[in-house]
Each structure stands twice: as structure tokens, then as C-alpha cells.
């Protein structure tokens, strides 16, 4: 009994110091002088642009990574294609690799003298310091989540339901749509939530490739940093609150997803 209480007290204290205190502080600082300064800070044109840009990048990266994640998981689990073991290991690379390194790699590839950058610039495609590179960086860092959620579920459900559908006359596509996808839907939803959260919060890789030009290539995380460096503390805190609010919304969605998962 005492041991259980001790564990609970310790974990709550740990969470309070590590998580709750900083987040509360951000909210408190943002609303310290009331709603008006907060509203003024986030309705500033650069802040609005940064928010819109972050949402745009997320809206492109998440569907792409979801589609890739499902296909990749199917390839890893269902089809014994030679080399899939290597792919399986490679998928985790973004978790291990520092985003700064990713950003640097993209910089080298798509820069003026990079392998792809030279050719692309010659054809009038600007990747670096523009939306494409920011999307690429975000896709890279949020790549593993859907794959990692879907792979174990695919393994667990096995192939029998799919085989049963095939003997009943279902084509591969029908089997996927009617049998496989419904079976993995909560894992996919989970993966999407995690991918979204990661994409919204991405800073390191994007900050290297974007250039961080206010009102043009500045994401919300970069806006927070820029505001802070310019001694615009209210602006920094307000934008942080916005990010935190997005994160909390995502987490709430995850709770809904979890509940659905349990009831199925």
C-alpha cells in the first residue's frame, strides 16, 4: 500500500516539475496582462502567417506520411520482399537522427551546389528557403509514427481474415478496403495523431532549411524563437500558448481515439 502510494507521489511530482510547471508558466505569462495583449500578439500579421504556414506544412506532410506508412507497414509485414528488413530498420532513422542533421543533409542536397538543387534550380524550382524544403524536413522527422503503430497490429491480426476474404471472392483492393483497413484503423488514427503532433512542433530541421524569414518562411516554432530573441516576450509566450493549445487538442483527439480503440 505504502509502496503504491510512494510510486504515485513520485510520478506526480516528477510530472509536475518536468511537464506541468513549464506549461502552466507559459499560459500564465501569456495571459499575465489579460486577454488583450495576448490577442494583439497572435493577431499580428507575422504570427498569423506563421500559424498558417505550420498548418499548411502539417496538412501536406501528414497525409503523405499516412499513405506511405500504411504501404510501408504492409510491405514489411505482408510481403516478404528481399530488403524489407533493411527498410524496417531504416524507418526508425528519423527517431535516432538529430533533426539538425536532417536539416543539414537537405541543405546539402537541395542547395545551389547540391546533387538535386543544382538541377532543380536550373528548372526554376526553388526548394531551399521555401515551402518544399520545409515539407520535406517535416516529412522526414515525422516518418516513423504511422509505420510503427501499424506494423504490430498487422502482425497481430495475421493473414487469415485476408485469406478468408480472398476465398470468398474479394480482390486484393476489396480485401484491403473491407478487411485490412478496418482492422488497422485505430492504429492508423494513432499514428496520424502522433505524426500531426510531431509535424506541428518540428523546429530543428525546418529552421535550417527555411531561412526563417518573418511573414514568408517562418513557422510557428520559429516565430516563438524569433520573438524571444527580439525581446518580444508577450509575442513569444502567446505563440507558445497557441502551439501548446494545438498540442493539447491533438492529445485530446488521441484520448478519443484510445476510447474508440477500446470499445471496438
Amino acid at each position: 500500500m505504502t509502496a503504491r502510494r510512494g510510486i504515485r507521489a513520485f510520478s506526480l511530482a516528477y510530472l509536475a516539475i518536468i511537464l506541468i510547471a513549464p506549461v502552466t508558466l507559459i499560459f500564465w505569462r501569456a495571459f499575465e496582462h489579460g486577454l488583450h495583449p495576448f490577442w494583439a500578439a497572435i493577431s499580428n500579421a507575422n504570427a498569423v502567417h506563421a500559424l498558417r504556414l505550420t498548418l499548411e506544412i502539417t496538412a501536406i506532410a501528414v497525409p503523405l506520411n499516412t499513405a506511405f506508412g500504411i504501404l510501408c507497414a504492409l510491405a514489411i509485414v505482408r510481403h516478404r520482399i528481399p530488403g524489407m528488413g533493411f527498410v524496417n530498420a531504416l524507418v526508425d532513422l528519423p527517431l535516432a537522427l538529430s533533426p539538425v542533421v536532417v536539416g543539414l543533409a537537405l541543405y546539402l542536397l537541395y542547395g545551389r551546389d547540391g546533387w538535386f538543387g543544382h538541377w532543380l534550380l536550373g528548372h526554376g524550382v526553388q526548394v531551399l528557403f521555401a515551402l518544399p524544403s520545409m515539407v520535406l524536413a517535416t516529412i522526414f522527422v515525422s516518418l516513423p509514427f504511422v509505420v510503427r503503430e501499424v506494423v504490430p497490429v498487422l502482425r497481430e491480426i495475421g493473414t487469415q481474415q485476408e485469406e478468408a476474404a480472398a476465398t470468398l471472392g474479394a480482390s486484393a483492393l476489396t480485401t484491403f478496403r473491407r478487411i485490412t483497413l478496418p482492422a488497422i484503423r485505430w492504429a492508423v488514427a494513432y499514428g496520424v495523431v502522433l505524426t500531426t503532433a510531431r509535424s506541428l512542433g518540428e523546429f530543428g530541421a525546418v529552421s535550417i532549411v527555411s531561412g526563417g524569414i518573418a511573414g514568408r518562411t517562418q513557422t510557428l516554432t520559429q516565430y516563438v524563437q524569433a520573438s524571444y530573441e527580439n525581446f518580444d516576450q508577450t509575442g513569444a509566450y502567446a505563440a507558445s500558448v497557441l502551439l501548446a493549445a494545438l498540442a493539447i487538442t491533438t492529445l485530446l483527439l488521441m484520448t478519443v481515439v484510445k476510447r474508440g480503440d477500446r470499445s471496438s
Binding site: Q160, Q161, E163, A166, T167, L168, G169, A170
Partner: protein, 331 residues
């Protein structure tokens, strides 16, 4: 001829699951594939269904070459050992699946599914999910689902393997009645010799990827082709080079010219059947099956000295095929 497999070979890595297997199955028959685990019986069933591609050999369904035809175009109904229910669909949707993907009219689907629910005794349970059914009910749902699109061929992989003894017995009888009514050509896989003898009209005995014998149940029991079949299909004593069924041994209290002396070691009474374990004077252990009446007349007790003779015995030569006995667990 409904189904024919010709010289089918299938390997999984180093394991030879099917070794040049040929069988043919009569249209409308109820055939049992019997064998110990790893004998290749399930693999053969999956090759017939198109779920496995053989490394060599051909499969014919209703006279047409079907080796390369995908499972969805073979017109077979397949029932999996663990039922493979579509867990996110209701019982009704599970059974309707084969019809909805063929875009049959709604009234037709309704009529057919209701018919099948009645046939498999699941009327009123259509709105449940598979997780809310018992094992036996799930199995019947899987059968109804397989039958919905009126397959030419029904394939059942260890259909009753995961059920308890009583439900298994009920379902066997039910499958027999169903087959009598529907006459759909049916092949089922089992490792249970009693199930094969009771349900099938033809039994294919398999061992180590080969077919040992194809025969009606009675012939299989009375005229086994080799030592493997003899020992796999029913209990058996191996006495030197000869094989004797436990009920083909006679016990008496008096010796005569052909009897051998033996000592009673153990007596087990199983209702109508009484099993007596003996040790002959040459050291051979002998299992004997008596009816209760026979046992009562003999009034046997452990350590009694009795005299035994065999009524009927068999010997097999190398040319009969497999002379290796079946694994002990099977008898």
C-alpha cells in the same frame, strides 16, 4: 471428378510439405484428409484453395486446370481452423460478405443470409459480433459465410479442432446432415482418426508429405495398406513383425496349443470398453480391448496368469510403403 491434384510438390524452405502428391476427389463426396501434424494435409487443402502455390504439379477443379487461378476465382468455400471471423463485422455482415462484394441485389442477399442463419442455427444472432459468440457458434458462422456464395467446393481445415469434445461431436453430426442436404463436394482436414472414420465417405491418409492410402473408412481400418495406416487409424499392438488390433486378441484362463502365457498388469474400465494391459512370457507388452460382458465373464484381476492368442494379425513388407509406425500420440 470434382478435384484432382497431380504430382503436387510444395516446400517451405528446407521442409518438404508435399512430396509428389496425387489425389482425386469425386463430385459430391465428403473426403477426409487424415494425418499427424506436419503430414502436409493442411498444405494440400490450401493448395486446392489457391492459398498456396505448389512448386510443381497441377490442380484441376471440375476438369479445368486451376493451378495458377487466384483463390477468389476458384469458387471454393474455405473454413479456417480458427474460423477467421471478420472481427469488425456483425454475424450478418460476415455471412453476407461473399454476396455484397459480388453486388448481388439487396433482397437476394437478405433472403440468402436469413436462410443460412437458419441453416447454421444462428437465427436471431445476426446483429452480434463474432466476439460475442461461442466457439461452436463462430464455427457455424464461418461455415455459413463459406456457403453463402454457393461454392462448388467446400474446404474445411481442422474444422472442429479447437472445440471441446461435446460440441465437436454435435458439429460432426450436423456437418454430416448438412452434406446430405446440400451435396456440395467437401474436403476436410483432421488429425483425429475417429472424426475421419465417422464423417468421411473417403479418407486420404497422409504422412510426411505423402499419401499412404485412399479408402473408405471401413476398408482403411480392416485393410490398412501399410504399418503407418494400421497404427494411425485405430489402436494397435506391434508384436515382433506382426500388427494386431487390441480387440483381435482373445484371453482365456486355460492354455491350448496356440496360446501364449501372459500376466495381467493393469485393468482400466471405460464404461462399455475394458482395457487390459498384459505382459507375455516373452516379455512383449500387449494391450487388449474387451467388452464389459467379456470382461465380466473372465473375472480378471491384476497379476492373474492368463493365456492369449491373436484372432487376426497383419504383417507388412517394405513394398507396402511406409513401414514406420505412426507416432505414439496418434493411437
Amino acid at each position: 471428378m470434382a478435384i484432382e491434384a497431380r504430382n503436387v510438390t510444395k516446400r517451405f524452405g528446407d521442409f518438404l510439405a508435399l512430396d509428389d502428391v496425387s489425389i482425386s476427389v469425386e463430385s459430391g463426396s465428403l473426403t477426409g484428409l487424415l494425418g499427424p501434424s506436419g503430414s502436409g494435409k493442411s498444405t494440400l487443402l490450401r493448395v486446392i484453395a489457391g492459398l498456396e502455390t505448389p512448386d510443381a504439379g497441377e490442380v484441376f477443379i471440375s476438369g479445368k486446370e486451376a493451378t495458377a487461378v487466384s483463390p477468389q476465382k476458384r469458387g471454393v468455400g474455405f473454413v479456417f481452423q480458427h474460423y477467421a471471423p471478420f472481427t469488425h463485422m456483425t454475424v450478418w455482415d460476415n455471412i453476407a460478405f461473399g454476396l455484397t462484394i459480388r453486388r448481388r441485389p439487396k433482397d437476394e442477399i437478405d433472403t440468402r443470409v436469413n436462410e443460412l442463419l437458419e441453416l447454421v442455427q444462428l437465427k436471431g444472432l445476426g446483429k452480434r459480433y463474432p466476439s460475442q459468440l461461442s466457439g461452436g457458434q463462430r464455427q457455424r458462422m464461418a461455415l455459413a459465410r463459406a456457403l453463402a456464395a454457393e461454392p462448388e467446393l467446400l474446404l474445411l481445415d481442422e474444422p472442429f479442432g479447437a472445440l471441446d469434445a461435446r460440441v465437436r461431436q454435435e458439429l460432426r453430426e450436423w456437418l454430416l446432415r448438412l452434406h446430405d442436404e446440400m451435396h456440395v463436394t467437401t474436403i476436410f482436414v483432421t488429425h483425429d482418426q475417429e472424426e475421419a472414420l465417422e464423417v468421411a465417405d473417403t479418407v486420404v491418409v497422409m504422412n510426411a508429405g505423402r499419401v499412404e492410402q485412399v479408402a473408405p473408412p471401413r476398408e482403411l481400418y480392416d485393410e490398412p495398406a501399410n504399418a503407418f495406416v494400421m497404427s494411425f487409424v485405430g489402436p494397435v499392438n506391434r508384436l515382433g513383425e506382426t500388427w494386431v488390433r487390441p480387440h483381435d486378441i482373445e484371453i482365456s484362463h486355460e492354455p491350448n496349443g496356440v496360446t501364449q502365457e501372459a500376466q495381467v498388469e493393469r485393468i482400466v474400465r471405460l464404461g462399455f470398453e475394458v482395457r487390459v494391459d498384459l505382459v507375455r512370457d516373452d516379455g512383449e507388452r500387449v494391450h487388449v480391448q474387451l467388452t464389459r460382458n467379456e470382461a465380466e465373464v473372465l473375472e480378471l484381476a491384476p497379476s492373474d496368469i492368463v493365456y492369449v492368442r491373436t484372432r487376426r494379425e497383419r504383417t507388412f513388407s517394405e513394398s507396402d510403403g511406409s513401414t514406420r509406425p505412426a507416432p505414439a500420440s496418434a493411437s
